[in-house]
């Protein structure tokens, strides 16, 4: 048995049966990280001695019959999740030496559940990017294709989970940042409903679209962890009081969905991506779901609306970094953050706010109406995640607009607040690809249930990357 191959579900079973210990599991993962991550750059901070102590303590608790849902399970957190006493950089030089005085709610919930934080993962600084290239900590390599991007901004969590460094890595999804590395790294990337998981202590990118969750290798793991981290948090007034389901318990339910296929989301796709997605849709049909063509008339405006809205919020959120209470001053911002701050500042400035920010806020209402109309006819929407397969490092980096347009299929769910997921499907020219599912608000169960049908048929989690030591 290879310990690094274990999913959360399998680890919990074996820990419960005393066939493995948390110390063994943690050691195995740390050894693997130490062997391979210098060539992969998925971590910014790797914890060491403290982790061993925490694992030993978890084993002790288990002996004393303490019951916690993640007891002794190693997890990684994206480095924009505040972790008390553990350096948190957001991959920006502005926060290079920042050691938070408190935990994000997501981190605290996992710690309270008994999980062990083995390290903090790389990202596009501040969450700005969809390739993983905007970092000062080494650009992560795609574990399945060296020299290719991992997708972003949760690049390190995508790479780490795919590389079998851990079974779960957290991520924040503001415009696709969990679904995109999910797609490019052959793992499950989840973006829950806005307000389902607390944003408290996750360094804010765009406060009205930031959605917090994780990347895992299987649907069950994704659903299980969501059931632990979701819920109302008095420290984040936008969290919902709606009941949290045991999402992992309804994966086997009998369910036939009406799945909407938006014709606009299939225009201008790379042929390989389209073929792989269409094949996944056939699987869904075979499993008893029905496919219905739908139209989202405002789809082509989604990226421009997103760009204005999110850049405006970025310029406001990043205004607080002055180097007075923590971190360094504004001269440390790098180009991507500076570009987005300036796009946002311009969109909000006197003489332009009506033309840009307010017009985008109105158009956002139209995008929401498009989705609402669609969900009157269908239970789910299915489409690709990216319009093209993983690209090589630096291929798009030189032209910011070309890079931004890789987000066209993911940003709408952020503007509308809907939950979405990326499920691994057949590779395109030996490069990973994902199927995106989008559901009505708080219907994450549908994403997991239908995603599970794809997973069961294709079993892409069995496809292992070849790493270089």
């Amino acid at each position: 048995m290879q310990l690094h191959e274990l999913t959360i579900r399998e680890s919990l079973t074996l820990l419960g049966q005393k066939k493995i210990s948390s110390v063994e599991l943690t050691e195995a993962l740390l050894n693997r990280i130490r062997t391979y991550d210098k060539n992969l750059h998925s971590f910014i901070t790797i914890r060491d001695e403290e982790v061993r102590k925490e694992a030993a303590s978890a084993d002790n608790q288990r002996k004393k019959k303490v019951s916690k849902p993640m007891l002794g399970i190693p997890v990684a957190l994206k480095d924009n999740f505040l972790t008390k006493g553990i350096r948190t950089t957001s991959a920006s030089p502005v926060l290079d030496d920042y050691v938070p005085q408190y935990d994000s709610t997501y981190a605290k919930k996992l710690k309270d559940a008994g999980a062990i934080i083995i390290g903090k993962t790389n990202l596009d600084a501040w969450g700005h990017g969809s390739s993983g290239e905007h970092t000062v900590h080494g650009v992560p390599h795609n574990p399945y294709a060296r020299g290719y991007v991992t997708g972003g901004s949760s690049s390190g969590s995508g790479a780490a989970v795919a590389a079998r460094f851990c079974a779960v890595g957290s991520g924040s999804d503001t415009g696709g940042s969990n679904r995109q590395p999910g797609s490019y790294c052959n793992v499950v990337g989840l973006k829950p409903t806005y307000g389902r998981v607390s944003r408290y202590g996750v360094i804010a990118m765009a406060s009205s679209t930031d959605s917090i969750a994780h990347l895992t290798r299987t649907i069950w793991d994704s659903a299980y962890v969501l059931s632990i981290v979701a819920g109302h948090d008095p420290l984040d007034a936008t969290t919902s009081t709606q009941k949290v389901n045991s999402y992992h318990e309804t994966l086997m339910n009998n369910y036939q969905a009406k799945i909407g296929i938006p014709k606009q989301y299939f225009e201008g796709l790379n042929q390989g991506v389209e073929k792989s997605v269409r094949k996944a849709l056939e699987i869904l049909e075979k499993k008893g779901h029905s496919l219905i063509e739908i139209s989202l008339p405002n789809a082509k405006y989604a990226y421009p609306v997103y760009c204005i809205t999110v850049s405006s919020e970025i310029s406001s959120n990043l205004a607080r970094y002055d180097g007075i209470r923590y971190g360094f001053d504004r001269s440390k911002f790098q180009d991507e953050a500076r570009r987005r701050i300036m796009i946002g500042t311009h969109s909000l400035s006197t003489g332009y706010a009506d033309k840009y920010y307010k017009q985008a806020a109105k158009a956002r209402t139209l995008l929401i109406r498009d989705y609402q109309k669609a969900f009157m006819k269908v239970d789910l929407i299915a489409c690709p995640v990216y319009p093209f397969p993983p690209f090589k490092h630096q291929d798009r980096d030189l032209d910011p607009l070309q890079m931004y347009l890789s987000d066209v299929l993911t940003v709408t769910a952020n503007l509308t607040g809907n939950p979405g997921i990326s499920v691994p499907i057949e590779f395109v020219n030996d490069l990973p690809n994902g199927l995106q599912l989008i559901a009505p608000h708080f219907e994450e169960s549908r994403l997991f249930r239908v995603g599970f049908d794809v997973e069961e048929e294709l079993q892409m989690y069995k496809k292992k990357p070849r790493l270089i030591a």
């Binding site: 405002n298 204005i308 500076r338 701050i341 033309k355 806020a361």
Partner: protein
């Protein structure tokens, strides 16, 4: 050949950089002028969307005000020492900030 006028001129870039407290070098101003022009020329298409009588959306939770009791939660307070821990410059238990008014301002 006449150069195409950029929608975000170097002057515009200097203006937004000043508003956002970013210091740019002259070469950077040119670079950002081109890049931001490309972006805005693409996003300008939102101008064609018909939005008269459409309300603005700025948040998607549908909730309005969330209230809580006006009680101090000691579980979420930092001691002065902890709060100051990450600051590069402190004085007598305070954060040190840059002077906002110069001596000339104070005199006038």
């Amino acid at each position: 050949m006449k150069k195409k006028k950029r929608s975000i001129s170097p002057k515009d870039v200097r203006h937004v950089a000043k508003l956002a407290l970013l210091k740019l070098k002259e070469g950077e101003v040119k670079k950002f002028s081109k890049q931001l022009s490309d972006v805005f020329e693409y996003v300008n298409q939102i101008g064609e969307i018909r939005t008269s009588n459409v309300p603005e959306t700025t948040q998607v939770t549908n909730s309005t005000n969330r209230f809580r009791e006006d009680k101090i939660d000691k579980g979420h307070m930092l001691l002065q020492e902890e709060a100051l821990k990450e600051s590069k410059q402190t004085y007598n238990g305070y954060f040190v900030v840059k002077a906002i008014f110069g001596e000339d301002d104070a005199a006038s």
